[in-house]
């Protein structure tokens, strides 16, 4: 299977930026982060001790509507908890994340926005990392669909997602904790449990037994997982950035 592709710091004016392409859904997202910036005219909304996180999604060929506002809300609440907004220079300032959908089809009115959510989350994470915004942890996300015959499809295509009986987006922190769960459709708890295991395997590799508390260290940073992908992308970028230093050593 072809994995996703991403590149970091490709915009000149933004503090941090990233582009991300998801091969199964075909979406290509361009993300930028400006942080910390002044947010004038919003004095009342600013919190005195924390940074304000703002997320803005710009659809490729429609005007932003209810769907975008809804996903913005999900991403904002999640990132607000991860970004260390009390670091020096951040309180009373803004972390402005702008995500533009620059490739792939438009989401028609009434269609699910969950297919787009993992790409948006990955792009914002990569952009935040490229902008060196302090965060308490990183994360990885996966989209899982459950078909009408109760078959679990990991990384579904748009056609599969449309036909599915339920759609799930799960995000796991770098320590393996569940950070976000957005589900849509009809399903029972057992199905959700298997979905969760499947998503965990997609994000972080083999599911580890927790009974004896042993953690297999080799499983960490496994390439092919969503988390491994984020790590590899950032690592490659750092190698390129520090080529001058590595060469002189």
């Amino acid at each position: 299977m072809v994995g996703p592709t991403a590149s970091l710091s490709n915009l000149s004016r933004a503090d941090g930026s990233a582009s991300f392409k998801c091969p199964t859904t075909g979406y290509k997202i361009l993300g930028s982060v400006n942080a910390p910036v002044e947010l004038p005219g919003r004095r009342d909304a600013l919190k005195p001790e924390e940074a304000t996180v703002e997320v803005f999604i710009k659809p490729g060929n429609t005007t932003a509507g209810v769907g975008e506002r809804y996903v913005e809300g999900i991403i904002r609440t999640m990132l607000q908890k991860l970004i260390l907004g009390r670091e020096r220079g951040f309180p009373r300032r803004g972390v402005v994340i702008t995500l533009a959908i620059v490739g792939g089809g438009a989401i028609a009115r009434g269609d699910s926005y969950l297919t787009l959510l993992p790409s948006l989350l990955h792009t914002s994470l990569l952009a935040l990392l490229s902008g060196a915004v302090p965060m308490s942890m990183t994360y990885s996300t996966a989209l899982v669909a459950v078909s009408k015959s109760n078959v679990i499809i990991s990384n579904p295509t748009l056609v599969e997602a449309k036909a599915a009986s339920s759609l799930h987006v799960l995000a796991f922190s770098s320590k393996g904790h569940l950070l976000l769960n957005e589900s849509q459709g009809r399903f029972d708890f057992d199905t959700w449990k298997t979905v969760q295991q499947c998503a965990h395997a997609l994000c972080r590799g083999v599911d580890l037994p927790e009974v004896d508390g042993d953690i297999a260290m080799e499983a960490q940073g496994d390439s092919g997982t969503a988390e491994g992908f984020v790590r590899e992308t950032v690592e490659n970028h750092l190698y390129r950035d520090y080529a001058w230093k590595i060469d002189t050593e």
Binding site: L11, N34, L39, G41, F56, K58, N61, T62
Partner: protein
């Protein structure tokens, strides 16, 4: 409202003094554009344009809608430009600013009102259905001369875009998918582009394609929209210092020369891309093996 970081006095003086001696910060002549780079995305009408450090993505899309009641023979065409914090930290998401309204005004006048896209050809069935063409302009990085860059990008997108074929059969509108019938190009009547001039030193120095720093140091601007045939479709002297009438006449011929050159560059980029697509499409068709 946020603002771009202003020029320091020394920087401004440097730019002005350099122009007095007929040179620019990046070594261009007054009538020279920055290198223009046009590339295309996977789908038709997706243009990535770079003019120096200014970078723009344009996506053209089409959908079938009902025409307006007062114009049953006309299709719809809209240019949508929304500046976001991606292009420049000084722009706030979801809040229109001065740059946005002025660029939208120029784009509308030069491309839409000059009828560069023949909207009558977008009509499918009188008063019932027509194509609505939408051009979305995403400004990805801003380093001056947004107007001309956006204008070039939208015109390139319109020429590159292919809409699905639609026919009327027994009073029913049938839209064919891209696989069923070869999609059709839009009907472009002429190819107007805008050229923005910036004036310095009591309008003694007038330059094209200013960078952000030059724009900040300028005294006034002049926008000329003109097509390959030398027909002027837009002229505006928005604000700032006065420009001599004779100067405007000479600038018009400069603009014509620039537009001819830019249109040639657009054509070259587009022919290269279409040739590539034709080859790829052919390879797909003539492949002996199949997916099984």
């Amino acid at each position: 409202m946020s603002k771009e970081a202003p020029l320091s006095i020394a920087e401004r003086e440097f730019i002005l003094e350099a122009l007095r001696q007929d040179s620019r910060l990046d070594g261009r002549t007054p009538d020279q554009f920055r290198p223009l780079k046009i590339s295309f995305g996977d789908e038709y009408g997706h243009v990535n344009l770079e003019l120096g450090n200014t970078s723009i993505i344009v996506r053209i899309s089409a959908e079938v809608t009902k025409p307006r009641d007062e114009r049953p023979f006309d299709g719809l065409f809209n240019i949508n430009l929304e500046l976001s914090a991606m292009g420049s930290p000084a722009w706030e998401n979801g809040r229109p600013n001065d740059v946005e309204s002025s660029v939208t005004h120029v784009l509308d006048s030069v491309i839409r009102h000059s009828n560069a896209l023949d909207t009558e050809s977008l009509c499918i069935l009188k008063g019932v259905s027509c194509w609505s063409i939408r051009a979305d302009v995403h400004v990805v990085a801003y380093d001056g001369n947004l107007t001309d860059a956006a204008c070039i990008a939208v015109m390139t997108g319109l020429q590159h875009f292919r809409r699905p074929d639609a026919v009327v059969r027994d009073g029913q509108v049938v839209v064919y998918g891209v696989e069923e019938r070869v999609p059709v190009a839009l009907n472009i009547t002429h190819k107007p582009l805008s050229v923005t001039f910036f004036a310095f030193n009591e309008s003694k120095n007038i330059i094209v394609d200013a960078t952000l720093k030059e724009e900040q140091a300028s005294e006034g601007e002049l926008v000329i929209g003109i097509n390959n045939g030398g027909e002027m479709c837009f002229m505006n002297k928005f604000s700032g210092a006065t420009i001599n009438a004779r100067e405007i006449v000479t600038r018009t011929s400069v603009a014509l020369e620039k537009v001819k050159d830019l249109n040639a560059q657009i054509d070259r980029a587009m022919q290269a891309d279409l040739a590539l697509r034709a080859k790829r499409g052919m390879a797909e068709e003539s492949r002996a093996e199949n997916d099984r």
